[in-house]
Point group: C2
C-alpha cells in the first residue's frame, strides 16, 4: 500500500523545505501512485516521451546517456528525494535514460497534471523550477570536475558529494553511507576508465582518506578529503521536495 504524502519519510529530512498544508494537500492529489522496480529496470528511456514523472522514495539509480560510439556517460546518480522525468514532461522527450541500480520505490506523477499545477498551484510550480535550478547547479559542478580535476580529485569530489547527499536524506551514519553502485558506474560518471578508477579508489583507501568497500563508503575525515579534492566545504542548500 502506498505511503501518503502525509507520512512521507522524506518530508522529515531537514534537507527539504517544509511544505505548507496547502502544498501537502495538493501533493496528495498530484501523486497518482507508486511504482516498485527491481535492479536493472529502465525507468525512462532516452528519446522516449514518458507520460510520467517520478520522485524517488527509496533506492538508487543512475541517469545516463549512451553515445554513438557505444560509450556510456552517467550524468548523475538518482537518490532518494530526486525528481526525474521533467525533461520529458516539459520538452516532450527524454534526453537521457534512467535505470534502477537497487530496488526502488517511486512516487508517480502524471505529466498531464503539470500544467494544472502551474495554473492552480504557483507555489509548487515555483518549487519545480527551483528544483530545476538546483539540478543545473549540480550539473555545472560536474562539468567543472570533469574539465579541471584529475582522477583522485574527481573521485574525492564524488565521494564527498554522495556522502553528504545521502546523509541529508538520513541514510548511513556519521561515517558510513550505503553506496550500492559498481566501480564501472563511478568510472562512467567521472569520465575515467574502470582500471584507473579502481587503482585510484585503492590509493585513496591506502591513504586512509576514504574507503568504499562492500557497497559502503566511509570517510574518516571530510576535511582531509576535501583538501585533496580541492573543494571548499560548501554547505548543502536546502531545497523543495516534490
Amino acid at each position: 500500500m502506498p505511503v501518503s504524502c502525509k507520512n512521507c519519510p522524506l518530508r522529515k529530512c531537514d534537507y527539504f523545505i517544509p511544505m505548507t498544508e496547502a502544498e501537502l494537500a495538493f501533493m496528495i492529489s498530484f501523486k497518482t501512485g507508486e511504482m516498485v522496480v527491481e535492479p536493472g529496470t529502465t525507468l525512462l528511456l532516452e528519446g522516449s516521451n514518458s507520460p510520467q514523472l517520478f520522485t524517488v522514495l527509496s533506492g538508487m539509480g543512475v541517469r545516463y546517456k549512451t553515445l554513438e560510439d557505444g560509450g556510456r556517460q552517467v550524468i548523475n546518480f538518482l537518490l532518494p528525494g530526486d525528481l526525474t522525468g521533467m525533461q520529458s514532461a516539459i520538452m516532450g522527450e527524454m534526453k537521457h535514460s534512467v535505470e534502477a541500480t537497487t530496488n526502488m520505490v517511486l512516487c508517480v506523477f502524471n505529466r498531464a497534471d503539470i500544467w494544472n499545477m502551474f495554473k492552480a498551484h504557483p507555489d509548487r510550480a515555483y518549487d519545480l523550477t527551483w528544483i530545476a535550478a538546483v539540478e543545473e547547479h549540480f550539473l555545472g559542478e560536474t562539468i567543472a570536475t570533469l574539465g579541471q580535476r584529475d582522477a583522485s580529485q574527481r573521485i574525492a569530489w564524488a565521494y564527498l558529494r554522495l556522502h553528504r547527499r545521502l546523509r541529508a536524506v538520513g541514510l548511513g551514519d556519521a561515517h558510513h553511507v550505503p553506496l550500492p553502485f559498481r566501480q564501472q558506474d563511478l568510472a562512467d560518471a567521472l569520465g575515467l576508465s574502470l582500471v584507473h578508477t579502481n587503482k585510484t579508489i585503492a590509493r585513496l583507501r591506502d591513504m586512509g582518506l576514504a574507503a568504499w568497500v562492500d557497497g559502503k563508503l566511509s570517510i574518516p575525515d571530510r576535511a582531509k578529503l576535501a583538501a585533496l579534492a580541492g573543494v571548499e566545504p560548501e554547505p548543502l542548500d536546502r531545497r523543495p521536495l516534490m
Copy 2:
C-alpha cells in the same frame, strides 16, 4: 533607447516559439530596462545574489566557475536569446560567474517580479521552467562530451553546437558564423590545455573540416564534422524566448 519587446529582433527567429499577444504584453511590463556592457564586464558574480536576470539581445559572453586551485571552467557560452541569472533569482545565489566577451545588450528583469509571474502568468512560468529544462539538457550533453570524447571530438562537437545555435538566431551565413572567443575560452570550456586546443584546432583546419580564423568559424560540411565528433545530426528543438 531600448527596443520594445514588440519589435524584438529575436522574436523573428524560428528557433523561438512565438509568444501570444498576452505573453507579449506581459513581457513588455516585465522588462525593466536594457543594459549595455563592454567586453570584460562581469554581469553576475559567483556567490552573489543579484536582484536581476538578463536575456541577451546581442553580443556574447561566457559563464564560468573559478576553482579553488585557480583553474577556470567555462560552463557554456552565452549567446543571443539566452537567459541568465535564474540561479540567483530562484536559489538566492549565483553558482557561477557571467562575463561579457563582446559588447553586449541585455534585457533586464527584476527578480522580485518572478513570483508575480508564477501567480499571474502561468504560461510564462511554464516557459521559464522549459528554458531551465533545455539548459539542463545542454549541460548533460556537455558532461557526456567532457567525459567520453577526445580532444578532436570535443572541439568538433563544440563547433557544431555553436554554429547551429548561432545560425538559429540569424548570425552568420550558411558556412560562416562569428565566434569572437579566444582559444583559451574554448580550452576552458572543453577541459583541454591551451596548447593542445591550439594544435587540435590546427589539425581540424588542415583536414579541411572546420576553420576558426579571425573570430569566424566556417564548417564546409557539417556531416563530415559530425562524423568525426561522433554525434548524430540532432535537430535543434525550438524553445521559448523570455
